[in-house]
Symmetry: D2
Subunit: 352 residues, 4 copies
């Protein structure tokens, strides 16, 4: 079993081991330790660490690093990610592989803040200038964060796109045992600028012809076909299926075991990719299922949209989809079990 | 009938007539004429016009104007709106009424660009730091743009929130006859800073207590209950219902009339509010309807998500939802009619 | 006699009365009250007030205002003026009339600060990209500040150049009786952009031909010939001539009267223009004078360079020039008298 | 003899060999090649290269590097140096050693440009917020630039101050044979932040007490006493002494030899330090000298001020000081000889 390490530190070290050699960004709670760690660690292994003048400067330096074929990434939270939307779109449009780590927080730049999953819709639908989809990976533990970060870099390179590691503030701040990955030798991507003027080589998606929009959809479809990831349990006999990701997904798995031990036929799907959404998981659900329930750490209900869309698209059934939004922090097993009772009692109505 | 006027000019003049007295922003095609017009017009009526150093500076000046109780707004497109996401979230969180005009374009900051509806998901789900919903109004003509802009300011004030006027680049650039609205006398909102320190008075949603999340949801629910707007036709006997907004909505209405003249029982819903989505319109649809079809000016299909969710939520039926995305420009009646035939032939499969 | 008013407020009101209609800047102690006052006063008379994103944004907006023929100005202190050096050079080079108010402070952006005259060399020699000279006016009282500000705007227009009103933090912060000037009707300069493309009309000094360097020197020579301003006293019989400007100049005049009442043949020159330096005043000095003494509010001695150069150039004599630098605040009459004795005793050696 | 190398490349390589390990800046002609070279060279030797978002960001990163005890520097020209004035003052005030390379150009940010010496007064008197003096070193050849850069770093460390390498655009762009210096092992300065909070250790000159102004003057006096550098020739029998630095200094030495071969008793002083100005050189001048002549590459005459002040201070004589300003490029030997004749004919009058 691995040694105890803080989430943000583990993520920072893992990025280096997965071959990342350029970090540029600006500090913001609760992601700051990623940057702090890299400030001394990156130079140690010969990489580039830059505390930029601003979030904007940081993301644009990531654009530059990616164009040079270096594994490049940034990390931020809430308002910091908002400030980077234009640069993230640029990365996507120019097909420059890069990783964005969003240690999600609730709270704007000048108020209080706490752990949350409030950026789900933004990350899965693209908060920048429209019509693009980044790969979004959602770990439930520090170990999974560390491992998924490797997928994030590999998928970004494979599809020449942006990967987002979306994790909660709580995961960044907590400690767990974790085995760090092996060191990967960094190598320059074939799209890298090579000293000759090669803009055309870098940018495919300037979107100025119908052909390119077709290529973009082909890329999206390939990712949807090949890269759905999830964990599930008990889908074969479920009356109700919980859907939750990240730390709330972990609580939910516990709640499911508890509810089953009390005789309730409940199951779970824990999406590991939020985009592409793991639609294939839903094909495995018991045909007599009575309903689906999302567990989310936000105020308005966001994941529930993807679950309702998937029920409609994949299950072709008029099943109720309930939403349990927990706005302040990670929901406990106890809270989830209590709310489940309210659903079966009819005290909580379906969202869709 | 009104006099001929360019869309961007009409929008700029209408903002002034609806009482706006502060514009701050930065130019970007195809929204630039709004700013140009205001550069001479705002001073003429004693308002404040600021070409800021950057998009960020501009949106933060709008925050300041709104905090002072002045009707404040900005206009931009694509990457410019991306750069403003943090400020827009700030406005929403502080409950500062403001209007954002998004003259939507396809294309990042350094490439080619053209008219589109590619920001639908961003605008309806919030591209900033998460869990907020702005009111989104979508005109199909210059006249409607001019009129909805009044609603945008009034609704922003009424609910102390952000309103977005989302229109296509083509509407900003084209000319049509238009009656401009009457002048409204600007008055300061009661939340305005008054020279005494009154931060508490301005900001309710610092989201630091469960109570505020509850209040936020109550606000969202009130807007959903009261402010859905749409136009529809022929819903009572429809085999197929088209859903489209903006200029494509206008083309779609034409296509519906043409298809009906040829014996097809088709209908349309044209959402005027994209958020709140006009779910009530769907309650009016003929129970024997065979399917719904979105017409959209983007590459990936975005509106189709809201239509599928609404079919599931409101119609409680497993009806196919088709998506016709047109990526380069506004679809013609002819193209829509041709693609409708492909749907009835089974050549185009449902999206949901 | 005028009513009591604070220096910064009087300067701000006077700028408006002298026809200024655009202020853009960023606050910094001890000049901030100028900006505060204008924030409500400018809109009142239909002018433009802009609190910019930064000092850089502010000075570049002044460039824009000046190019449009509007009397435009900014005010700042210490580090704020440093940040504006590039824009100030731009104004000079493009021959765009503008006024810079420097309420001089000692102290960098993050430390303590106090009133001083430490920017003398920077203002008189140009801290920007080189080889330009701005007109520098140095008031000794609020009344003189208010009056000289009119000269600053008029001279800027007359010579199409930059005028600096250089005053100490103490003058900005203190109160005195003051008669405010009459209102001047603002009118656009003939160099103003007129809606047609007229870059050539605005910019003469792009310095790309020998002819323009010649024109620049001709302008400098005309200003030196016509615009030297100073106050003097007792030059005809002086053994020693004090030279001091601003508030220390006022103290020095008092010290001179006191020393004369005790039998010392002392005189004073108080430069009102620091550039052009009032060389003509030195022609009036008694030929048997034994030395000159500068009184300065800085640590290193700056004015003493111009006095030594002028003694050499105009008086053609090898006369000792002493420097009395007072680094913390405005020197008192008592301190000056005491140091004068050290000079006559030989305890203080000449600087040049 | 060394190999042929371009001035900017030689300077960049020399900085690394003298132990510099952080470069941050923004490109501007004619200094850009320094940055370009470092963009690949710095990473190669494990140093930090940062193309910042702006000149401001760059100089503030140099502040950071210097505070960490790393030999840090930037390079720029004209407007770029203007934009850095605030940061340069900060470095000086905090006693943080750093090197500024100014490849001097004539011309503002939007016009034409050419080689010049127009920043002499700015560099020798401090263009930032006042009352500081940086060490200014002025090479006449690429070899001397390379060697003086070592002095620049050593003197900055020794006195904990800012050193400026001031060279003309022409020297940056031309090629000459040059022996590059040996590699110096970089070591952290004792003032470096060490992970414990030690602001006090870094910053002495926050200038908030009389004691610190005294310490500052003591530092200035020590530099003046110990660090004057110059080259001279023929001072013992001179009728006229030319004073010139940099490439014009090199032309002037040639002109002096030519004029002497024609029977004129002329001499030269070539200041290598512009501040401290080499006053000691002037003590060696023949007592029967008839005048001094500056040769400068600017329009207004700048070096002439320091020569006139030094004649007054050191030679205690009423000697005429002539100024030969050459505004477009480096003066030729022929031009200097021709203008010398005008001086002896009385066609050119003394400046002081």
């Amino acid at each position: 079993m691995g040694k105890m390490i803080k989430g943000n530190h583990a993520i920072a070290e893992a990025a280096i081991r997965h071959g990342a050699r350029l970090y540029a960004g600006y500090p913001i709670t609760p992601s700051t330790e990623i940057m702090e760690y890299l400030s001394w660690r990156m130079p140690e292994i010969g990489g580039s660490f830059i505390q930029a003048e601003s979030e904007l400067a940081g993301i644009n330096m990531v654009v530059g690093g990616a164009a040079c074929g270096v594994r490049s990434f940034t990390a931020s939270s809430g308002p910091g990610i908002s400030l980077k939307q234009e640069g993230i779109t640029q990365l996507y449009d120019e097909e420059l592989p890069a990783v964005i780590i969003n240690v999600v927080r609730y709270g704007n730049g000048i108020g209080t803040l706490y752990t949350a999953q409030c950026d789900y819709l933004r990350e899965t639908r693209g908060g920048g200038n429209g019509d693009y989809r980044a790969i979004v990976l959602c770990p439930e533990s520090i170990q999974e964060a560390v491992d998924l970060l490797g997928d994030a870099f590999n998928l970004a390179d494979k599809y020449r796109t942006v990967s987002v590691l979306m994790t909660e503030g709580a995961l960044g701040q907590m400690m767990e045992p974790c085995d760090l990955p092996e060191f990967v030798e960094p190598k320059r991507g074939p799209w890298a600028f090579d000293g000759k003027y090669s803009y055309k080589k870098v940018g495919i998606f300037d979107r100025d012809s119908m052909k390119e929009a077709v290529l973009m959809n082909e890329k999206h479809n390939a990712i949807k076909a090949n890269e759905q990831r999830w964990e599930d349990g008990h889908l074969e006999d479920a009356d109700y299926v919980f859907v939750a990701f990240g730390l709330p997904g972990r609580s939910t798995k516990g709640a499911v075991e508890k509810l089953r031990s009390e005789g309730n036929k409940v199951a779970f799907i824990r999406p590991i990719t939020a985009w592409p959404f793991p639609e294939k998981a839903f094909e495995k659900i018991n045909k007599n299922v009575k309903g689906l329930i999302t567990v989310e750490a936000n105020a308005t209900g966001q994941l529930v949209e993807d679950v309702a869309l998937t029920v409609k698209k994949v299950m072709k059934a008029d099943l109720p989809v309930y939403c349990l939004p927990y706005v302040y922090g990670i929901p406990t097993m106890k809270a989830i079990c209590a709310d489940f009772e309210k659903i079966t009692n009819g005290d909580i109505k379906e969202a869709f």
